[in-house]
């Protein structure tokens, strides 16, 4: 009798000694095309195409440049995109009127993209901050505080505009309380509730990892570093309450943002809402760090490990600037 062995159920190594067995031990962590969503930055100038200095291989596109890029990606398996509008000449005002004007690049582009790629799922980021003169995500009171009711009303209007223009998913990133219900009510009133999903930026933290994104969006941050009412990084409690709020208000999908340093929040959210598909936004700071994490092989290994970890933590879909590279890696594997 071997006194070293406490109990047979504590002998783990017998269960993962080869690659096939290890796959069985890693359920629900495969990375397939539907697990990836690609953020797209859309310029007003239809022929424009700009690099982003802080984010190698990321571009801002005008619609006419975007179409051929999308063609290649869709052929390589791309299933879904998340569109952000970039403002260069459109007027900014107190209520972000350009967000849903007929000249908004997102509004203009949706029907073209939909027509060209009928099987591509199109999500649109919904916020006022790129379009307000003050750069805040909502409408302000005379005293400069957020006018909650007015803000939520505007957010719902913008979301509805994108939905009518052809978006499959509207994704409010503003973090205003109760905007999910306002958007759902607007969709219902327009009989769109069974054709348009709402992806809520439910757990969006006030992270230090958004720097490169701000460059990309050409958004100049206002005085005050919490302009968008993001959650404090150490607060699992507010994240739990935010997800509960959004589920009660009718969100179809939830999001945690950023990803890597918040995988416990992903786990907590998935455990509580196992029936709601969960998105992670792998943010620009994560993109930058991983991009510089080693040579090409090391970087790809680290990238794929982080995606595996995100899936393990409970994410169903990862919004990532690495989407083109990931689609290539998936294709190669097969």
């Amino acid at each position: 009798m071997n006194p070293l062995f406490l109990s047979p159920e504590h002998i783990l190594q017998g269960g993962y000694f080869n690659a096939t067995l290890r796959k069985l031990q890693e359920p629900n962590t495969s990375i397939e095309p539907h697990n990836i969503m690609y953020p797209v930055f859309l310029l007003e100038n239809d022929e424009g195409m700009q690099t982003v200095s802080s984010m190698p291989n990321v571009f801002r596109y005008g619609i006419n440049k975007l179409m051929p890029a999308l063609t290649e990606l869709v052929n390589n398996g791309l299933k879904s995109i998340l569109i952000f509008g970039i403002v260069e000449t459109l007027p900014k005002d107190a209520i972000g009127s350009s967000a849903d004007s007929v000249n908004n690049p997102v509004v203009k582009a949706l029907s073209k993209i939909k027509a060209a790629f009928p099987d591509l799922t199109i999500a649109c980021d919904v916020c006022l901050c790129p379009y307000t003169s003050h750069g805040h995500c909502g409408v302000l009171t005379e005293k400069g505080a957020i006018d909650h009711a007015a803000s939520v009303k505007r957010i719902a209007e913008v979301a509805l505009a994108y939905a009518k223009a052809g978006a499959d998913i509207v994704a409010p990133s503003d973090m205003m309380d109760n905007r999910i219900k306002a958007i759902k009510d607007a969709l219902i009133a327009n009989s769109l509730q069974n054709q348009v999903s709402v992806l809520s930026y439910s757990c969006k933290f006030a992270s230090s990892m958004y720097g490169p994104f701000r460059d990309t969006m050409k958004s100049s941050p206002m005085a005050g570093d919490r302009k968008c009412y993001q959650l404090p990084p150490g607060s699992a409690g507010l994240a739990a309450r935010a997800a509960a709020r959004d589920v009660a208000e009718g969100a179809d999908f939830l999001m945690v943002k950023p990803g890597l340093p918040y995988l416990d929040i992903v786990r907590q959210t998935k455990d509580k809402y196992p029936n709601h598909p969960l998105f992670i936004y792998q943010v620009s700071g994560e993109y930058a760090m991983i991009s510089r994490s080693g040579d090409e092989n090391e970087m790809e290994s680290i990238l794929m490990e982080t995606l595996t970890c995100m899936r393990r933590a409970g994410a169903d879909c990862i919004i990532t600037y690495f989407a083109p590279l990931i689609l290539n890696l998936i294709s190669k594997k097969q």
Copy 2:
């Protein structure tokens, strides 16, 4: 305000109106090669190859016929097999001596298969019934009852023989209480516990769906229709206790058999033991029913739906006679 709408969280159709969204709603149900295990029936005659009248497209192979068949399957993605030995001329006796004799076809074949397919995971069914003169799964007392202690001792000896011969997984199908611990103790005593897994037929029910399998094994059932002490079909309770027993005794992997009519047992087992990979044995009666369920397209649709359902219910790997067809369907899809 629309009085028809009770609550935004009850509007489900907004979350699955296209194919990509539906994929996000079906987590952990993909069918990849590592989710499939193929049962192989091995003849004593190395050159033999026999059809099975009740199971179209299923064969019994001698090792020399098996090798080219496996080559094709492994090239098509096959990751794991489950070997059953078929006895035609080997002597049968009271203790099933041929189960682990040097002439046993499984014992003889293991090193050859391992050498040819080093990345193929090889499981071996472990039982005495194909080798005992009385056809029971254990050793009998003078009065004809199961001699539990003697039976467990023999089961462990046979499992050890297969482990030494090169099996990656030993899979006792006899349903004797406490045989998992006996096998683990034997593996430990031979320093094999971290190179050989134990897959327990934990929840094996006394089903009416084993008929074609018995033809395949050429096993003539004894008087008494519970010869192997299988569980009563209506008993979720005994299934729960059987899984608990096997986990406590050190099983690496659990199994539910048959599959389709027992998916609630799959769910119950996975819910209780989420950290133990769970196998389903899609039995011969299921194979027969699905084979006859319609024309080729209908049959393939029904087959793939049942596999999806098994994965949804919590199965990590499905042991199935359809493995060659499934590998083809997976290849085509890509």
Copy 3:
């Protein structure tokens, strides 16, 4: 001391070694007449009687042919039926007006059946698809999408018509969000809420096993294979949310459809809502597969095992084309 025995509580075989003990291990799995509901297809032509080529022993009846058939079944123990109307000459239009017209065969037959069989519980399937010119389960918008509000309003009108005509149970199969509340509100407004139950097709999956049923209903499916907004087969999450929705809206009884490949969903639903009687619809594809599963004895064994499994998984009542055969098997057993 016998080292093979880890723990007395792991010795299971001492608890089920004879038939009486096995019965005690299979609680709540008996098949009595109240556990069975029989689907009835009702023709407009009162004297009609038609076979269904893909479903042996299933007939479409005119009311005058149905009555003697029911008499025999009721005498043999039948407790409940589920009526479907078959349209052959009634006009179809955009809103399914014939569903609740005075000429609808179901509306016409209810009082006759009720008078003849006062103790027979009568359920009526409620949907628009047999009666709409486009074949969809709801009313369409100009663009061809489902008009949710209009659809739910019509579903409630049809359900109310059947309730007024004498149905004990109305069973909406359309899968529109929030139709249960609309029906309950209509029943309340007509003081029928304590005389008519609502059986919701809560978890109805987009299965490949509905083929023969479509023959039976003479319904030609429209372009688009999700016309009825059924759930994706791999989605346990949407099924959980659908059941929650229906319970919150006041459903008296819940349903899972199909049965056999969805027993984990049955278990999940019963575990969550133990106080709501749960129905399974054993669908036409299941009927076909079991019918062809072997000779008469084998088929009956497999049939009764599947019913036992359904009861074990949590079903209280099984809607099945095998009802006449099952009543015979029950009678014989006594």
Copy 4:
């Protein structure tokens, strides 16, 4: 809109307005023969037959009178009995030697009953109190306290004697801690563990309802009114711990005794151990009260309601002196 109705899910009356629907609302409460066990009092005198004054329709039988009585009951559906030995002339001593002597009426009768009724499940009550000179359930120390180790050893010896003589179930009623494990060890050492079940009187309370039983057993209670270490009636906690103890020690089946005033204990035990069949002993005081509860119709209604309530509370089998009457009522119903 009707302001009286708070929520559709609170309208219950729509779910049970006819008899078939009510049956669906009462799952797992049917009374079938396997849900009933009949207590049998066995005299030393093979030809004896005695009435019990305090229990109308209950008899003490010698084996030759018992056989025809059993024949009638088995023909009427009886599936299981629980045998008590009655001592009239056998010597009593300090260790209850007559409990397992060759002259013990139970030991003598078992093979005869088994031979005549091979499908009848035979349980034997196991205790020392009918056979000890002091009337206690165990062996005493010199000071008159219970000698726990000696007592448990004797209980296991008596249980083993009955098991060897042909009992299917041994049912220790002594309430000594750890006697279940001692019995299981004895069964294992004799290779009987998979042919003999242990039914533990796990939750036996010190009730005031055992009076008539004591008459029946002709047992004169000792000084001290807790002679058998029964549980205090108000203690749900000790009952929970007693069941936990017996499950850990390997009990196949559990019991609560008495029944009616302890249905919360039944519920608590079933909730905690859903996978262990649960017995209720409907004791002599319950028998007496129900017998006198009204005229024949009223009494039968009350009896059947109490059985329904016991099943609803979680009992799988009820040990009851009413077994002959119940079998008649079941037969009549069909």
Copy 5:
């Protein structure tokens, strides 16, 4: 080492070997005056006093006979009563107008009792059945079905009348869905919500044990044996939903009726709503059975054991015809 003892935690007998320890094992089971409520039957004739043949020691009183009886009981500790009005000459009509007329004996007596016994808590049973010409608990539609909305309206009016007349507790026994909310709304509208409690007959079963009570109430049951929409005895599920409904609607206290055969329902209800005081109604059939259960000592032992069991199961207060005897037994013990 004593091999018989599996685990120290399984030695229970060390924890309850004397009377003091046993009391410690029986928490929250004491029977004090506040745990008892006494049902009082009030005649129209102020000087009347009648025996009830089927219930020895139970009387119907006119107010002038009730007062001295109450004086004695209050002096002996009585803390609360539940008043039922008995109709002999008051007119009955379709809506039970006499239930809350100025001539109703309950309405008339309340101020007198309150004045005489300011510390006595007075509950009033609220139902229409003693006052309707048809004997149903609610108002009927033209077709003879219950008119739910009209019924709930009347129940609330009656409850309000008793509240205004001085009742501390109104106890609706009608089992109509949503009547608790209607009563609470009426109390609020009259500023009585903080002076009057609502005790809901939440879990009132269709029991065979109400016979003697019907004699007492002189109520002749109507055709149809479910006139009050009581719950089916086997349905724990409907009981759970009924308690949930009443808690959601604002019930202060819950009730289970009858008591003894429903202690699992008591347990289930208390487990789910630990913060709502729970009443048991020990009904007339229980009273009759216990009254005849033996000689005076035996009967008192059995009575006190059943009360202990009710308290153990979770009851806070027991409504019982034995109240005078219990108060005597309590006094003697002190």
Copy 6:
């Protein structure tokens, strides 16, 4: 009434609009010196000091160079270190004899460090891999597989040697099943169990982020990239079982390694074992990525955010190469 606001409990922004409130929302996330442990690499050459090219600001020290460095850190608040021995000239053999030889730098240094810094908690990494000729973490069998029993024996011997030499904590990083119990047994046998803690590398994953560490340790990896039997990155299940195993074997503290991509594992482990202090090893790849994540301010913000996130996820102590910088940042803040 503002229709936009669904429910007051969903208004979150009222709870974190200033810095103090945000701190209240971030419980248990402060970074104090006791939450940090510093890894120290110890050279054989007492006077040595080497930079590590892939890890800026990380050094290998001989003991005489280490002492002044530690003095500065301890003065700046350092509370604990984790020592790794670096082998340059010591002989390597099959069983790693140099791990616990008198010449081992760790063995030699412990008493000196302890004497100089009596309040510094000293942990020692325990493994064989730096000292074996084959580079594996355990002893091998003749066939080259891990000899489990021999390996665990050696690990326990090495741990005991460090404990005897003055380590406060021994931290086995080898991942052998059951080594925690072996170490505890060794400590007990030497009466050290109450003076030495065991910190188990419980959940150590086979990550791509160990590259720079391998440079630091000068360890040349063997053929086979799982040499240390680390967990597959996607397997939350094996991590759960590994933590359960180590807790059952007596681990004082648990560890998750790496940190950032495994915060869901941290959460899962802390949720399951809230009473065991939990360590994170922020590995070399994390160090490299964060070091290159931006300019000094950005990098420090990101570093502090990741630490906050680790604490939020459940870590009590973080083992980090950034310890000197963190101590500085803490000092500055005060």
